[in-house]
Amino acid sequence: MKRRPSGGLLDRDRALRFSWDGRTLSGFAGDTLASALLGNNVSTVGRSVAQGRPRGVMSAGLEEAHAFAQIGEGGATEPLVRSTGVELYEGLVARSLSIRGVLSPETDSGRFEKRYAHADVMVVGGGPTGIAAALAAGLQGARVVIADEGPELGGALLRDRYLIDGRPAAEWVRAAGLMLAGLPEVRVLPRTTAFAALDQNGIVLAERVSQHLPIADRSGLADRRLWRVRAKQVILATGALERPLVFPDNDRPGIMLASAARAYLHRFALTPERIVVFATNDDAYRTVFDLHDAGVVIAAVLDARDEATGGLPRKARQAGFEIETGAVVTGTIGDQDGVLQAVRVARLAGGGERLVPCDLLAVSGGWDPNLNLHQQRRGATRWDDRLATFLPGAAVPMQTIVGAANGRYGLNDCLVGGREAGLAAAAALGFAGTVVPAPSAGDEAEGEHASVWHITAPDGDESRSFIDLHRDVTVAGVTRALGAGVRHVEHVKRYTLIGTGVEQGRSAKVNAGRAVAGGIGLDFAQVGVSSGRPPAEPVPFALLAARSRGALFEPVRTTPIHPAHVALGAVFEDAGQWKRARYYPRPGEGMSEAVVRECLAVRNGVALMDASTLGKIDVQGPDSAKFLDRLYTNRIGTLKPGRARYGLMCRLDGVVFDDGVVMRLEPNRFFVTTTTGNAGPVMEWMEQHLQTEWPDLRVWLTSVTEQWATVPLVGPRAREVLAPLVVGMDLSKEAFPFMAVKDGVVAGLPARVARVSFSGELAFEVSVAWDQGLALWDALLDAGSAYAITPYGTEALDVLRTEKGYIIVGQDTDATTTPADAGLEWMIAQDKDFLGKRSLERPAMQRTDRKGLVGILPDDPGVVVPEGCHLVADPNEATPMTILGHITSSFVSPSIRRSFGLAMVTGGRARVGQRLYAPMMNGAPAVTIVDPVFYDPKGARRDG
């Protein structure tokens, strides 16, 4: 095509250079990549996927089925971008694609952000219909969002020469745009595509914020923005998409949609020399008029209909154009590069062919309302004979479809329909404001649309008659599918791949359905088209992730003592979202050395750890004890104020859910701790039962996990370290025994002190207000310095508690473990009901061959058998072997100076004394099954 010296919606003062496959070309501001290529006489923009045929630009918008390019450089390289939607910018780098996109490993500096928005009325589409709708609703005072994928409002009016109120439509668009901009509650979003329609009128938009700007001007701006709109009413004014026709060699560069030919003229000032127009409906006659007026030779006007009686054909005849009705294109001829040179023309009724030379063939097979968003909501469609297409069927609640999207192709219809929809949507929400008169346009009487879609190849070879240009699927391909016995369009899609490309069958689906119907002699209305799904337009992954990347991806939760751990050089582990200190290596130490040192400090001296991540729940009310008795497997109600008890909870199915310490602070007030991972779930579980099962109980819960920072001070010297820090708190064994709780003051801080111990050593667990946690830590460290107080981490804790045979829920247990399996049958109160108890009575829960917790001692005391290893009786058995259980915790114990661990094995403690093997790729170490308590079985140290 050639660029005309003037005209179009281009800024001729701003010439832009861009690169195409390494060549530097130029265009103007206002161009798309597609129009700029056409303006540079690049008619072949890529090769077809399967057959390698040359392909050009076939549309000027959303219909595009072939002209996809790879754009950008480095980390911003974006594959498969529709070149009819890429606005040209200075320095744009674009490449034609060799089938697949190529990704860049470089870092992408583009910012993709997200915005939530709420609207009374969301209007999708900024053509005449959408503008009229937004204006009407906006003037009523409604909160309106209107989005259009183009750079400016106008839709079809930008490509056509309509009059509104007797003046060029562009003037109305401009005036309406100004009015919209002046309404404070209206948000106009150009360059914004609605790509997903969700339940309850959630509309998701992709805004191109800076993609059209030269790279240098983008800094500080988002590349794209994801809008999550919730709208009370949605108006779909998404227009209609023109449909191509199927005939031999219908895929050459130089063949384009009739409306696209007008768009390239009116928007981009591009014209061919000689054009053939081939249509099945009236609208394509606008192409005849407009291109003729622009000086293009109209080589032929072919109308597949037997008669063309609508207003536009009549006008064309009056203007002296020769219209051939019942005439069709039966083939095309290309030059050595495959670019269109001439078309073969014949009458549908038969007879000879003639050749008509031309450099552009404009085709129009009719119009398909753009209903992807409606289909995403599972909105129905129905076949319409007169327009030979699918129109919206039953409405989706709170959603209206208007204008060309609703099969109303007259501009006046669009303007009136849009305005009425806008008014109705606002009125439904109770708005009553200014009503401006409707603009009007004189609509031509529209003739019927022919249902012709395919011109049979005169030589019977349908392998060059393309239905899906993107996936290179032809009529022959569909025929082959039908021959295989396939009947349903969805099967045809999957057999041929029609509609599975980037354009998702927008231009191919209806013709594919027709091919199927024709092939098996069924009514097309019944055959239908394959389904539409989100997104309506492809969007980059990064847009959906938006800012949820890097530091914003997910919270890193830390305790108030975290800075101290960092300063001590702690190595951290992730426990859910928390960071916990795993161990504190000193110079020259690896993990095992550090852990041994930390363990020994606990056992022989004094040590402290940060246990602030434990979940904490304050339980108050006269029925608290009754409530906790229903939750825990063991009795809580008998607990005396000032005392604590280890508690265990099951799920309803009897599986161990969580464990923790329950403290009774006052007769009607408890303080419950949970494992770090279950802080939320236990709170929810409790709240759920109070609200839904036992609303009669007067119990109130408050999550206080982050009200309290907790530091266990542990070891035989703990009492000595703590003593000088407390005032009026008797720490003696008699006054403050194991499992007692006291409120008081520690290091000048209001504190709660509990004699609980997970390590089996003398321990005082001190809790203070969260924001005083660090002060407490420092004070304890300070007070302990004379005793070589040692911070210890979760790894040492794990060793210490394993020595005591204490389980960690989720490590030594899994989703099948009952309390008895975990060796905690003593915690099951027989004389009360609790959640999960009934499930424990089922036969499979009572079997004696269930897995049970045991200890293991490897034969070789220097070998730590890895956690997760499975145990068998016969290490030489062929696979599949008879697996008896697995090792759940496994360490070296500094206290018993050898490797040891815990395991779950069938039969549990009945196997004590047996020798089992842990086969791995490199050997099968033997272990002896022992009782799971390795250290201080009587608990004398803990109680000390």
Partner: protein, 406 residues
């Protein structure tokens, strides 16, 4: 492979489109993968000639064409490992047996572990797999990088990659081709595939099923197998059986096609799994929606979260485009293991509950279910997967193996 080439593998003939006969020895309800596989094995392994598959829509319209096609057998429990490994062995011979290029590709399934807990569980699974004769190996972060260089193994990540377990024999197959291949194979063995035929009721006399009420009329049946996946609760209710299932949406998505770069990579902690289909599109899945639904669409926030998660592991995918999303309705059991066996109704058999992970089971599911139907009693491989385990409490918990569903 060339993006369109696999369409060319489709053979000239797939199936007849017969009208239903008045009665069959066995009628299979549900023309998904498991229904087709059952019918095929009834004819192939048990010589039962008069078999029909009745399908309310088109063959495969349910989860068969919606799944992300990950195939592996590295399940935790012994019963599961035996069953899924049986399936994997069949996959290894299926292209030949079915005489159809189903593009089974053993490119490996790598499950990433991000924290100590996951590493421990990963090892537990690996060791149990090895003893069960299922291949599984541990890769540390460095080996992960070598196996799949585009995985981000940087220690700065919120959830850095600590390592992972790899099943090299795992992989993918072309889902549509498997539907076509099985349907063709069953059709060749004389099975009537009756599409557009919805079962709306059962003839049950004195506790025994004798036929089906369908939208194509009554069809007599000596035995009936229910293989309705997500719609099983609706079917079971018609037959008066209660099933412990939840029907919930599970989404998946594909990108436009990019240069090949990827085996199958799963991250449970991040709730995302990615593979690359033969054409070159990235295929990605995430968690299921929590609620009951038959609407075949999922929630958008799951997409957003899964993209954020995917870009943690694969920052290179930032500008790849989301091309299409969809959802299937999966039949989830309380223990994440299937139910394959007899029911309280005589000669009515049930195969369901494969939930988010039954594609990989297609060959073996049909194999054992055909056995169960033919003999009126389960095969050793599916004996534990009975309906009554929910009453006795003998569940086969596989939640760990299917945290991120695939």
């Amino acid at each position: 492979m060339h993006p369109n080439e696999h369409a060319l593998h489709n053979p000239e003939f797939l199936w007849r489109n017969p009208d239903p006969k008045p009665s069959y020895d066995v009628v299979i309800v549900g023309g998904g993968l498991h229904g087709l596989s059952t019918a095929y094995h009834l004819a192939r392994n048990h010589g039962i000639k008069r078999v029909a598959v009745v399908e309310r829509g088109w063959l495969g319209n349910g989860n068969a064409v919606r799944n992300t096609t990950i195939i592996r057998s590295n399940y935790l429990r012994d019963e599961s490992a035996a069953l899924y490994e049986h399936c994997l062995k069949l996959w290894e011979v299926w292209t030949e047996e079915l005489d159809y290029e189903i593009l089974f590709s053993q490119r490996g399934v790598l499950t990433l572990n991000h924290n100590l807990h996951e590493v421990r569980e990963g090892h537990r699974g690996m060791y149990s797999n090895q003893l069960n004769g299922v291949d599984s190996e541990w890769l540390d972060a460095q080996a992960v990088k070598e196996f799949c260089p585009i995985v981000n193994t940087s220690a700065d990540l919120r959830y850095p990659v600590a390592g992972g377990t790899l099943q090299r024999r795992g992989g993918i197959a072309r889902h549509d081709a498997v539907v076509f291949a099985l349907a063709r194979a069953a059709d060749r063995l004389g099975v009537d595939l009756i599409q557009g035929c919805e079962v709306t009721g059962f003839d049950i006399q004195r506790g025994r099923v004798t036929g089906l009420v369908t939208t194509k009329g009554r069809i007599g049946a000596g035995k009936v197998g229910l293989v309705g996946a997500g719609r099983t609760p609706l079917l079971a209710r018609m037959a008066g059986i209660e099933v412990p299932l939840q029907s919930a949406p599970l989404q998946a998505l594909v990108s436009d096609i990019v240069e090949p770069m990827l085996p199958c990579v799963v991250s449970n902690a991040l709730h995302v799994y990615v593979s690359q289909a033969h054409k070159g599109e990235l295929v990605m899945g995430a968690g299921r929606d929590p609620y009951t639904s038959y609407a075949q669409r999922g929630s958008f926030h799951i997409l957003e979260d899964q993209m954020a998660a995917a870009l943690q592991v694969f920052p290179i995918f930032g500008r790849v485009h989301l091309l299409r999303t969809w959802a299937g309705i999966v039949d989830v059991t309380p223990d994440a293991s299937p139910i394959v066996g007899i029911t309280p109704v005589e000669e009515l058999y049930l195969n369901c509950g494969w939930g988010t992970g039954g594609f990989k089971a297609t060959p073996g599911s049909g194999w054992v279910f055909a056995h169960t139907i033919a003999h009126g009693a389960p095969h050793a491989l599916n004996a534990a997967f009975s309906l009554d385990r929910f009453e006795t409490g003998a569940l086969i918990d596989e939640h760990g193996a299917s945290v991120a569903v695939h």
